[in-house]
């Protein structure tokens, strides 16, 4: 991936490069500090990607994966983007496994639990739109599902989505367009129009 992105100041906190370097050297207290700082970000992103708040395992897998492979992070200032990419990859793998189990008839997929995700102060029309978005998301292939959520819900630029998904910009554009077209069809079918 050659696309260059600026470090994302997620949670409005500057990246503590020293902390990342210490964690990379195996300092467990530094790793714990990073976990405490970015747990909320990871949990929120995982919940919005999976459409449920039942994502503790995914959060745990993400941090284990991150700290286990932190030595591969060449630029510590990009830690947040790198961590976000692990969330996306982990969610993608889980999605595939759940689809597999579903195909085997072992499990049945659960619909997105929007009520558990939405803030109590969210206006009703926004909640309705969220339901529609996640209904569309559930019907899409994994790549389009993730691309749409990252772009539409997380508010990432297409370039940022490409970095997080480790895909080309062209592929991401196609995936987002695929999801947007499906969303448009549903909204139009229910009497609403996209701008």
């Amino acid at each position: 991936m050659n696309t260059v992105v600026k470090p994302k100041e997620d949670d409005r906190q500057p990246i503590n490069v020293g902390l990342v370097l210490a964690a990379r050297d195996g300092d467990m207290s530094a790793q714990e500090a990073l976990f405490r700082r970015y747990r909320k970000m990871v949990f929120g992103m995982a919940a919005r990607l999976m459409g449920t708040t039942d994502v503790e395992d995914l959060v745990q897998d993400t941090f284990v994966e991150a700290f286990t492979n932190l030595r591969r992070l060449r630029e510590p200032a990009l830690f947040v983007t790198w961590l976000g990419a692990i969330v996306v990859r982990t969610a993608h793998n889980r999605w595939w496994r759940s689809r597999l189990l579903e195909r085997l008839g072992i499990t049945r997929s659960k619909p997105a639990d929007i009520e558990s995700l939405v803030s109590a102060s969210a206006p009703p029309d926004m909640v309705a739109e969220m339901r529609q978005v996640y209904r569309v998301v559930a019907s899409l292939p994994a790549d389009a599902q993730i691309a749409l959520v990252l772009h539409r819900v997380e508010g990432m630029t297409l370039e940022e989505v490409a970095v997080h998904m480790d895909k080309s910009l062209a592929t991401v554009k196609r995936r987002v367009a695929e999801g947007a077209a499906q969303l448009d069809r549903i909204l139009n079918g229910e009497g609403r129009r996209l701008p």
Binding site: V59, Q60, V64, R71, R97, L104, R152, V153, E154, G155
Partner: protein, 187 residues
């Protein structure tokens, strides 16, 4: 409809309690210290084939970045899959009840995660790319060789067994930054 990103601010962002944070970190720390899965108590490398009975044989080949890694003849479930040829010329054979997921298919890296059962990997020689098989936190990296990886469960512990049939592999345990090189006859 709302603009991109407007939706995010309407999601709940509950702060976890200090006790919850401690509990979650304790679980992560335990996995980092002992391995990918808390049930992993030992990693055994050596000879021997673990025969596992089962019904389903699964090789999942997700659509990944180009060039796609295609397992010719791979099927999702319920049918016999004696051997799959990957796009780079490597071959994967899974035992009954085995399951594996192709996690990476880049020109510089091919990644397969063996979830359960036994897989035999006949890797085409291509020095410019890494061929890595992961099984419960254990990673086996190769250049060109033939080897078997088996995951077995016994009384709550998980054992990953690597058997080299040809060439050299590098095995890294969970959290290990350096690997152990195994050749034919070594364990």
């Amino acid at each position: 409809v709302s603009g991109e990103g407007d939706m995010r601010k309407h999601f709940r962002e509950d702060e976890p309690s200090p006790a919850q944070l401690r509990q979650e970190w304790a679980a992560i720390e335990a996995r980092l210290r002992t391995g990918r899965f808390r049930t992993v108590r030992k990693v055994a490398w050596g000879g021997g084939v673990l025969a596992l009975a089962g019904a389903a044989l699964v090789l999942v080949v997700p659509r990944l970045s180009s060039p796609p890694l295609v397992a010719e003849g791979a099927s999702v479930a319920g049918t016999s899959l004696p051997e799959s040829k990957l796009a780079d010329g490597s071959r994967v054979s899974l035992s009954p009840a085995a399951s594996a997921i192709v996690t990476s298919s880049r020109t510089d890296r091919v990644g397969i995660e063996l979830l359960a059962g036994e897989g035999t990997f006949d890797v085409a020689k291509r020095p410019d790319r890494i061929f890595a098989v992961r099984a419960h936190g254990v990673e086996i990296r190769v250049v060109g060789t033939r080897f078997r990886v088996a995951v077995s469960q016994h009384e709550g512990s998980t054992t990953v067994t690597t058997t080299v049939e040809r060439g050299v592999v590098e095995v890294r345990g969970p959290g290990q930054s350096t690997g152990q090189r195994l050749t034919v006859g070594q364990s």
